[in-house]
Amino acid sequence: MTRARFDLGSADHARLAAAFPRGMRPSPAGRVRMGLAVAAAVALAAYAFWRLGFSLERLGSGLAQLGHFVLMMFPPDPGTQLPLYIHALGETLAIAFLGTLGGALLAAPFGFLAAKNVIPNIFAHFAVRRFLDTVRGVDRLIWALIYVTVVGLGPFAGILAIATASFGELGKLFSEAVEALDRKPVEGVVSTGGSPLEGVRFGMLPQVLPVLASQLLYYFESNSRQSTIVGIVGAGGLGLHLAEQIRVLEWQKVSFLVLMMLVMVGVIDFISSRLRFAIIGKARITT
C-alpha cells in the first residue's frame, strides 16, 4: 500500500541538526525554568505547613471527632421548627437574589467605565479600577458586620453586604469581558457615523451580553451559598439558625439545614444552566 514515507538516514539527521540546531535539540532552558518553579512552589508550601503548625496527629484526632458528629447527624430532623426554617430559606434566597441584582446593576456601567477600550483616558480608567479594587478588597462577611451595625440586624443588612461585594467583583469581571471583545464590530458601527456611545451600545453590548449573563447566573448561585454565611453574623436567613444549632450541638437539625442548602443550590444550578442555554443559544450544528 502507498503511504508517504520519510526515509531519513544519518546523513539527513546530521544535515537537519546542522541547519536547525534548535529544532533538533531544543534548549533545556524552558524545562529547567519549569522545574525550578515547581520546586520553589513545593518548598514554599512545605515551609508554610511547618510554620503554621500542620500536625498529622491533630488532623487524625480531629477526623475521629468529625466522624462522631457525622454519626450524630443521622437522621436529619428539623424538630418542630420546619416552618421557621422554610421562612429562613426564603429569606436567604431573597437576600441572594436582591443582592446579586443590586450588585450587577451597579457593576454594569462600571464594567464599561473600567475597560481600557471604552475609556482610553488612563487616569479615569485607573481611578475606576482602584475604586473597584477597594470595594473588592473587603469580603462580604466584613461588609455584613459593617452593615449590621449601620442598619441593624436582619436581611436588609445581608442584601446590602451581598450587593456591595458583588458589585466590586462583577465590575472587575465585566470590565475584563469588555476588554476581551473584538474591536471590528465597533469599527463597523463608528464608520457609519455613529457616536462612541452608540459604538458601545451596538458594537460591544450584543457581544458581551451572553458573557455577562452567564457570570451573573453563576453569581446568583454563589451568592445563595454566601448569603447563608452572611446570616451567621446576624444579617438574616438560614445562617443564623445554622450557627445557633451548631453552638447548641443539635446535629440532627444542623444536618437538616445543610440538606436544605444543598437542595436550594442544586435547584438554582439546574435553573441557571437552563437559562444560560436560553440566552447563549445551543451550539450550532455545522454541516
Binding site: M1, A4, L8, L16, F20, G23, M24, T287
Partner: protein, 270 residues
C-alpha cells in the same frame, strides 16, 4: 483503493450526504466540487471519521473504515490526513510542535504528553517543513504566521502523518491567489512525488480543472457528476452551480449591471 458505498449522513431532517457511491484508485487527484452546502465537507469528514455516517460504508484497501474503533481508528486517521479550510492549528503552540502533532498516532503517549519527542520524529517534522520552505519558522508561534504559511504548516503536519490519503477540505478558501497557487502546488507535489491519493474539496471550478485528474460534482448531498475534467461542460457546470455558475467559472457576466437599472424606491432618494 478507496471505496464508498451508499454513504449517507443526516442532520435532523436534513440529509447532508445521501447515497454516495465512489471508487477512487490509488494516486488519483480527485476534486470534489459543488456549491456551498452540497455536502462536500461532510463527505470528507466522514472519510476521516470526524463525523460518523448515518448509513453506508467506507472501505480502504478492503478494510471497513466505518467499523473501526479505538487504536485502529486512530491509526486510520493518521493514514487519512485532513487539511482544513481554517488550518486548525493550535495557535499558541510553536510551528514544530504543531507539525509533531502529525506523529501522535505512532508516538507513545508518555512521550507526547511530556513533549519528549524522539530525534526521528523531530527530523521528520523538520524535513516536512523544509519541503515547503518554512523550516526556518519552526520556533515561531503558529498564530504569528500568515494564512498561507499556516496552511503550509498544516500540510507539513499532514505529511508528517505519513499518510496514504490526503483529505483537503476547501484548503484554499481562506487564501489569496498567490498562496492559493503555493498550496495547490504543494498538494499536487505530494500527489505526484509520493503517489498518494488526494481528495480535495474545491469551490472554484477553474482550480479543479487545472489540478485534478478526476472531478466529482455534488448537489444536495448527491453525486451528480463523476468524470474527467474535460467532460465537465459549461452546461453541466451551470446545472451544478445554478446561479453561482458565473462566479466560479471566472466568466464575465453577459451584461454588466448599470446603476440606473438597480431598482430603488423613489422615496429613498428624495
Amino acid at each position: 483503493m478507496l471505496v464508498i458505498e451508499g454513504l449517507s449522513r443526516r442532520f435532523g431532517d436534513k440529509a447532508a450526504v445521501s447515497d454516495v457511491n465512489l471508487q477512487i484508485a490509488h494516486g488519483a487527484f480527485v476534486g470534489v466540487i459543488g456549491r456551498s452546502g452540497a455536502g462536500k465537507s461532510t463527505l470528507l469528514r466522514m472519510v476521516n471519521r470526524l463525523q460518523d455516517p448515518s448509513s453506508g460504508r467506507i472501505l480502504f484497501d478492503g478494510c471497513d473504515v466505518t467499523a473501526l474503533k479505538g487504536p485502529a481508528l486512530r491509526q486510520w486517521r493518521a493514514q487519512a490526513a485532513m487539511i482544513f479550510q481554517q488550518f486548525n492549528l493550535v495557535g499558541r503552540l510553536d510551528v514544530l510542535t504543531n507539525v509533531l502533532m502529525g506523529r501522535l498516532a505512532t508516538v507513545p503517549t508518555w512521550r507526547a504528553l511530556t513533549k519528549m519527542w524522539s530525534r526521528e520524529d523531530r527530523a521528520v517534522a523538520l524535513s516536512a517543513l523544509e519541503q515547503f520552505d518554512i523550516a526556518a519558522l519552526a520556533a515561531q508561534r503558529a498564530d504569528s504566521l500568515s494564512g498561507g504559511q499556516q496552511q503550509r504548516v498544516a500540510i507539513a503536519r499532514a505529511l508528517a502523518q505519513e499518510p496514504g490519503l490526503i483529505l483537503a477540505d476547501e484548503p484554499i478558501a481562506s487564501l489569496d491567489p498567490r498562496n492559493t497557487k503555493i498550496v495547490m502546488d504543494a498538494l499536487l507535489r505530494i500527489n505526484r512525488h509520493f503517489g498518494i491519493t488526494v481528495l480535495c474539496n474545491l469551490h472554484s471550478l477553474d482550480l479543479a480543472r487545472t489540478y485534478c485528474d478526476r472531478l466529482v460534482g455534488m448537489a444536495q448531498g448527491r453525486v451528480v457528476f463523476d468524470g474527467a475534467p474535460e467532460a465537465l461542460t459549461d452546461g453541466v457546470a451551470r446545472d451544478l452551480y445554478g446561479l453561482e455558475a458565473g462566479e466560479v467559472m471566472d466568466v464575465a457576466p453577459a451584461t454588466v449591471p448599470v446603476a440606473a437599472s438597480i431598482p430603488m424606491p423613489d422615496a429613498a432618494l428624495a
